[in-house]
């Protein structure tokens, strides 16, 4: 590897000839350049952030601390535990105490659970619009669930979401709006965005329409800040959290019933329709998936949409139970 050379260059130890050699290497392949940039970044970071000098500002008297340490270790004597055979009476007492603990904690848990999350909304095959006490509006997609404590809005604005919801949050700097999903947390001040976190999905997605959102996954100690037009994707399998520009025009179709396709490939069109209408359209492997579709639907029924696709793409399909299978595409 070129590590030695790169590091010599970064520490200013290279000769003119070596500089040249490095330059040639960097231009040979894009990944060489990337590698070089990574090293440069690491090097700059480690020099910038690593300094022992900051410790000097700490208000610590090392001699005093050492004195305290010596006191601790000399005082510390291993306690000797007397071995007394356990009497049957003591055993019963222990069992009684254990039972008492179980009963009491059951009552306490009940109390906490039922006091804290006593408002819950659950959707089946319909969407639902909910206005929260402080004025924020949440639209729940099908098969989703939203819950919050009866104390919502008093000290904080915390809700839990399963499934998908579109949030239009009222601004309140004092009380950030916090949404807990399966593994992550979305925190906002006032803004609108979409959260998708279905149990059966491998990814949790947060797409921002206006304002900014912080999306964090405490388990992995990751977080991204997202602004309008961006989306954050957390992969449950890879435990990775990334933010990227949102290129999906239809992330709100399930709510707005407006679908826009601009030179979209058939495969992604089908995917969008499946999500928007919660249906199961299947594209068999032998059907070309790259036909391009450009069309806008506004509050159309699935039937109408399929009709349009049938005539424009010269496509046929059959309905088997709750599955729609594309049988031919003529583009």
């Amino acid at each position: 590897m070129q590590d030695d050379l790169i590091i010599r260059h970064l520490t200013g130890e290279t000769s003119a000839e070596e500089e040249n050699q490095l330059l040639i290497w960097r231009t040979q392949l894009p990944e060489n350049e990337r590698y070089y940039n990574g090293m440069k970044e690491i090097f700059a970071l480690s020099s910038k952030h690593y300094s022992q000098r900051t410790n000097e500002q700490l208000n610590i008297n090392v001699d005093e601390e050492w004195g305290q340490f010596v006191k601790t270790i000399t005082k510390k004597v291993t306690p000797v535990r007397p071995i007394i055979p356990e009497s049957p009476f003591r055993l019963w007492l222990k069992i009684a105490a254990a039972l008492l603990v179980v009963v009491v904690s059951g009552v306490v848990i009940n109390y906490i659970v039922f006091r804290k999350t006593d408002i819950q909304f659950q959707t089946a095959d319909q969407t639902l619009s909910i206005t929260l006490p402080e004025g924020s509006i949440i639209t729940l997609n099908q098969h989703s669930q939203l819950s919050y404590a009866s104390t919502f809005g008093e000290k904080n604005r915390n809700v839990s979401l399963k499934g998908e919801g579109f949030f239009e949050v009222k601004r309140d700097v004092q009380k950030p709006f916090v949404i807990k999903v399966e593994q992550g947390t979305v925190e906002v001040l006032g803004t609108s965005f979409n959260v998708q976190s279905y149990d059966h999905r491998k990814e949790i997605e947060v797409t921002v329409q206006t304002g900014s959102v912080r999306f964090s996954v405490p388990e992995t100690k990751r977080e991204v800040k997202l602004t309008a037009g961006q989306k954050g994707i957390y992969s449950k399998t890879e435990q990775s959290l990334i933010g990227e520009p949102n290129d999906d025009l239809n992330f709100l179709s399930w709510n707005t019933r407006k679908i826009v396709f601009v030179e979209s490939e058939l495969e992604s069109v089908i995917e969008t329709l499946n999500e928007t209408y919660q249906v199961n359209i299947v594209l068999p492997a032998d059907i070309p998936k790259t036909c391009l579709v450009t069309v806008t639907f506004d509050h159309q029924t699935l039937e109408a949409v399929l009709n349009v696709l049938r005539t424009t793409l010269n496509l046929t399909y059959t309905i088997k139970g709750n599955q729609i299978e594309i049988t031919r595409v003529g583009c």
Binding site: E41, F43, S46, L58, E65, F69, V70, I73, Q230
Partner: protein, 174 residues
């Protein structure tokens, strides 16, 4: 325990107590808590002092222990005040979009997990600003060896900071 052991332990304690507090502080953000945790670590190391291998890398061992204890401490604290630390997050974010503290402590951890000679070379070059030749002279080693230590240091850093690197690259794309 033998008197001479306490003497060598004192040296270790006085060298690392303050830096370790600074390191722990980057997790727990409270100096008294940090000091307490570092004390605990030293006490537990002292108890094992005569059973630890002679060639153990104390820097690495102590930093790892302090890091683990600090993480446990935060985890336990989080259980108690689950939502209050949202505000704490807010504070750090004001400075930079991605927590600088988090980055700083990773770098510190990486550097202290290096073999001792390697860490000394790196610190002399990076912190003290000595050239390869000066480092070589000071440590009575060859320039080639200095170079090898620097390479090693950077590759360990790269390993530790890989995740930050990808985040930083993502920032550039934005």
């Amino acid at each position: 325990m033998a008197e001479k052991d306490l003497k060598s332990f004192e040296k270790l304690f006085k060298e690392l107590f303050k830096p370790l507090c600074g390191f722990s502080l980057k997790y727990v953000r409270d100096l008294d808590e940090a000091k307490g945790l570092v004390h605990e670590v030293f006490v537990s190391v002292w108890e094992k002092f005569d059973t630890l291998p002679a060639d153990i890398n104390y820097h690495s061992y102590l930093y790892t222990s302090v890091r683990n204890r600090s993480l446990n401490f935060i985890r336990d604290r989080k259980k108690h005040v689950q939502f209050e630390n949202v505000a704490e997050h807010e504070l750090t974010e004001a400075n930079s979009p991605f927590e600088t503290v988090e980055l700083e402590r990773e770098i510190e951890m990486a550097i202290h997990s290096l073999p001792e000679k390697c860490r000394m070379v790196f610190e002399l070059n990076r912190v003290e600003g000595l050239t390869y030749a000066q480092v070589a002279e000071k440590m009575s080693i060859s320039i080639k060896t200095v170079e090898a230590h620097m390479s090693k240091a950077l590759s360990v850093l790269r390993e530790y900071l890989k995740e930050f690197l990808s985040i930083l690259i993502f920032l550039v794309i934005l």
